[in-house]
Amino acid sequence: ENKKIAVSFPNASVIGAVITSLEAAKAKGKEMGYDVVVDDPGTDLNKQINTIKTWVEQKVPVIVVNTLQPAAFESVAKQAREAGIIWITYGQKIENQDATVGYAQYPDGRQLGEYAGEWVTKNQGGKGKAIILGYEKGVWGQQRGAGIKEGLLAKAPGVEIVAEQDAISPTEGLNVTRSLLQAHPDANIILGVEDPATEGAYKAWIAAGKDKADPAGFIGGMDGTVPALKLLKEGGNVYRASMAIPLVQVGYAIVETGDKLLKGEKTGDVIVPLELVTEKSPKAEEYLKQQGE
């Protein structure tokens, strides 16, 4: 029987990009003689911890955890490592770990913000009104959101942020943006921590009767989901950027790092930064292909 690499990834099943990434991990795992098992606890922190405790009890050799609330995992991680299990933190850094794999939330967010800022400075004389669709309820959301905001203002200090609201699903993005565009019909920049939400914002933009190719408009999100990438590939619309997860690379990194740590090698952190995909960039095509499109 193959050794197990157990991955706990909140909402893994809901985000297309993540699914692709974990499928890559599974394939790579098979190649290298591992079974990669995935659990998706949704947003239920307690269930996530419960599952990890069950894995610890089972003595799974490697546990990889996307920690939505990093600090909450210190003690479980400690217990796992005391039981001789390799602990890899995904997308975050905690004290009790063998390595971090994934990406860095704040810098990734900041890169999107800076790009938007540069775009505004170049095309709109550095002036504009911005809406931020964040997710304050999770640390990753706070980090990405802060990165976006600070990056934007760093490159375009003249931009006014008129609203900051929570939205991560298409429905939330659509509903919130529609309401906000009532209060701020002239808002022209919408940045979000999740592509699904900014996809919803794009729908709201159109539903509000705005030009979908408005030269003053800028919508950008993160993760590189299929609908976002398709809009980018097409071009000629206000959806102008997404920070795409290098899905296959991340998937491979999970398995390879686990393997190395098991063999006693020191890997250090394996950071795979998200990649900025912009309008009509060939990257869009490439990432779409990774996701089977």
């Binding site: 909402n11 099943s13 809901v14 985000i15 297309g16 699914i19 304050e136 309820k137 008129v162 609203a163 900051e164 609201q165 929570d166 991560i168 699903s169 298409p170 429905t171 659509l174 509903n175 919130v176 529609r178 309401s179 906000l180 009532q182 209060a183 019909p185 699904p196 996809e199 919803g200 729908k203 159109i206 539903a207 989901t225 299929v226 609908p227 398709k230 996701q291």
Partner: protein, 343 residues
Amino acid sequence: MSTTAVASSSPVRRGPPVELVVNNILLIALVLLIAYFTMQSASFLTVSNFKVILTNYAAIGVVAAVMALLVIAGQVDMSVGSNIGFSGMVTAIAMASWGAPAGVGVLIGVGTGALVGLVNGVLCAYLRFSPIIVTLGMLSVLRGATLLINSIEIAGLGDTFFWIGNGSLLGLPVLLWVVFAVFLLSAAFLSLTVWGRYVYAIGVNPQAAFLAALPVRPVVLALYVATGTAAGLAGVLLVARLDGASPGSLGLQMELQTLTIVLLGGVAFAGGRGRIFGVFTAWVFLGVLDNGLVLLNVPPFVQLVASGLALVFAASLDALGTFLAPRLEQRRRVNEQLARATA
């Protein structure tokens, strides 16, 4: 034998319209809320913003209008959130993968919802399984099933669908035509048709209704199917609005939002009591609240607190109403007597 002279009730003098006030206490709260937001933001009280409010909330209104009937009949369907997601996803697949035309897509989505309702109905009405447990179970089953058939988003469903979700007809958004029609139908059903009376009778006392030879199980089954159909329709509307479907989040937690609207609208959870107009008011109330808080850019955490407090406030109005109503009724009767005595 003494025949009581049935005097044609004399024109009784009306006091202040207290009763009206009590009956429509939520409506008053809504007016106050609207007044407050209007003072705070110039962009609030505009036709276009109200279109936004109601279209944002259209899908949920469709479900609430119909689920209210089910709750009045003493039942409940906690699976509607996932049913919305499931039916929406089936619609999206039908159109995007099998190339179904828009009309067929709508029918497939609505039909899927109805089918789910049928399963719930057979389990709860005929096999007498506990409605809460069964439909909570279905909530989980359907979300899992949605993700199993298609775990990633689908987008781009064509122009007709986009028009359903975002277009207008005679100046009114299509979504609003639909949700108003459903509310009207539901209200008409409840107050004009024979089965509407059955719904109340079953909700108050199912055993007595059964012994009065009413078709208790068929009515309850039909209400589950209707609720499922409404969830299916809501799924279609959401998908049309988003021009796509995301399996994990479509309809998520809408069962709780729907139930909140229904209860806030004055429908008793135990059944037997409720009016569609109350549910309609609650629907607008929550829509206005959501929209107003976002318009004012109230921070998300404060929004949670504010919308929670609004619920507590609404509950307090309701309690005040139940406290005042009998007292006001007494006063009215005394006035009537006095009027008769002095006549």
